[in-house]
Amino acid sequence: MSDIWSLYNEKLMEHFKNPRNVGEMENPDGMGRVGNPVCGDIMELYIKVNDGTIVDAKFKTFGCAAAIATSSMVTEMVKGKSIEEALKISNKAVVEALDGLPPAKVHCSVMAEDALKAAIEDYLEHQKLKRQI
């Protein structure tokens, strides 16, 4: 065992205990899935987009407390943002919003960023297809 979670701060623990935006989304405009169960981390992120603005976000995550808290935080951060603004959300911004992560858990924030990017790419891909039709 380790001292890793003694390093989890209050804000992170609060998001772990009461994660925001948990669940799947009916007919999302974009969905990103990153990680794999072999590594012990999987994150799925769904977004709803209206007039170029992300109006809703949800997630499902298999992983540690940091993975759950970063999922919760990134879905909170993205709501109300334009696609351009959302693409600028970095893993560092997620870490800062959570008042920091233990070094061994920074990869969780990278996963949150990757899941968001994947969801936006999925959305943009659909838009392109729609325009082609």
Partner: protein, 388 residues
């Protein structure tokens, strides 16, 4: 809320009787056992009394007990000590894939030098096949090291049979018995071991004390050189209070061993049964019957161990997991992987190890709290959907 400690395989609380027995040796009886005056004699007497108690519990002679700083040093001493003292006879060491890191890392160290290491696999219950040991022995084999019981999954190994094989082949046999001494009967002659590791803090003694049983005539070199303590086998002024504490802990364990094991086995089985009934998609890791009386290790599908553990901790329940997320290494428990568990199941493992202060109410509390935690995490898990 009283917290419920269910991690006794990690460490145990030092019993108050043990603490009491240690206290005089910090202050009034602070002497150095190597000193000739009365302070020295008093300390020396206390160390020797503890040695006799340890020897008695495992059916050894007191001169066969060497005190160490704990289980890790005992394992290092046994493996490096025998390897380097018997280089002229051979360079082959046999061990298993499920040993504690205190054995595995020493083997890795030896393997990077002039020694050849064979790591034997285990079956799905974590059992080593004695026949595999027999087949692995060559004319270069100098040492076999197989743990008495596994610290993670609780499987009790067929050490007696392996001991017989080792003896017939004239190969030294070491067993890491850190999880068994004081918990289930251990007798060095019955097990036919030449070396056996003991740790005080796993049996309600203090941290910083342990012992290595070394059968008379076993050739091994010292790790620590310096003064003539421990018959020149382990230099350094003895940690007298901790050694006295180990002696007291061993004495108390010897008095209670059968009854306590029975009580714990009842609680263990109640917990195993309850978890199986209340939470679907769970399975027991380790052997169903050849198992430490206090060990429960289960894999809970679709959820990750650290999240389980932290949620339990928030409810005042302290357990342990084989998930990588709780450690610095990216791989989940080497033991669970050696049993053949898929990595995602290893990530979802929980270990409860019961102890003296636990009661039936504690088991009921776990069974009351855990299903809700699992349900909440599963509702969050993308894996469950994939399975549908």
């Amino acid at each position: 809320m009283r917290s419920i400690y269910l991690d006794h395989a990690a460490t145990t609380p030092t019993r108050s009787e043990v603490v009491k027995s240690m206290l005089p040796y910090f202050t009034d009886a602070f002497g150095n056992p190597s000193s000739i005056h009365s302070y020295g004699q008093e300390a020396k007497g206390a160390v020797e009394e503890a040695r006799t108690k340890v020897a008695e519990l495992i059916g050894a002679r007191s001169e066969e007990i060497v005190f160490t700083s704990g289980g890790t040093e005992a394992d290092n001493f046994a493996l490096k000590g025998v390897a380097y003292a018997n280089e002229h006879k051979g360079n082959h060491v046999i061990t298993t894939t499920i040993e504690h890191h205190a054995v595995l890392e020493v083997c890795k160290f030896l393997g990077r030098r002039d020694f050849k290491i064979t790591r034997l696999p285990v079956d799905k219950y974590g059992l080593v096949d004695p026949d595999d040991v027999r087949k692995a022995i060559t004319d270069k084999t100098i040492l076999i090291s197989v743990m008495h019981a596994n610290n993670e999954v609780g499987t009790i190994e067929p050490v007696e049979e392996i001991g017989r094989i080792a003896r017939a082949a004239g190969v030294y046999f070491h067993s890491d018995a850190v999880q068994t001494v004081g918990h289930i009967p251990v007798n060095v002659d019955k097990l036919k071991v030449d070396l056996l590791s003991i740790s005080a803090h796993k049996l309600y003694g203090p941290k910083g004390a342990g012992a290595l049983y070394v059968r008379k005539g076993t050739k091994l070199v010292s790790l620590m050189h310096g003064g003539e303590q421990e018959k020149r086998r382990r230099a350094g002024t003895e940690n007298v209070p901790a050694i006295v504490g180990l002696g007291k802990a061993v004495e108390l364990a010897g008095q209670e061993i059968g009854k306590e094991a029975e009580r714990l086995a009842y609680l263990r089985d109640k917990l195993i049964e309850g978890l199986g009934e209340k939470i679907d998609h769970t399975r027991l890791n380790g052997h169903p019957t050849r198992r430490l009386p206090n060990n429960v290790n289960v894999s809970i599908d679709f959820v990750e161990g650290e999240s389980l553990l932290l949620n339990l901790d928030l409810e005042g329940i302290c357990a342990s997991t084989g998930s990588a997320c709780s450690s610095a290494s990216p791989e989940p428990s080497h033991v669970l992987l050696a049993l053949g568990l898929p990595t995602e199941q290893a990530h979802g493992s929980l270990r409860f190890t019961l102890g003296r202060e636990n009661t039936e109410a504690d088991v009921e509390r776990v069974l009351g709290v855990l299903p809700g935690i699992v349900a909440r995490l599963r509702a969050m898990s993308p894996l469950l959907k994939t399975q549908k």
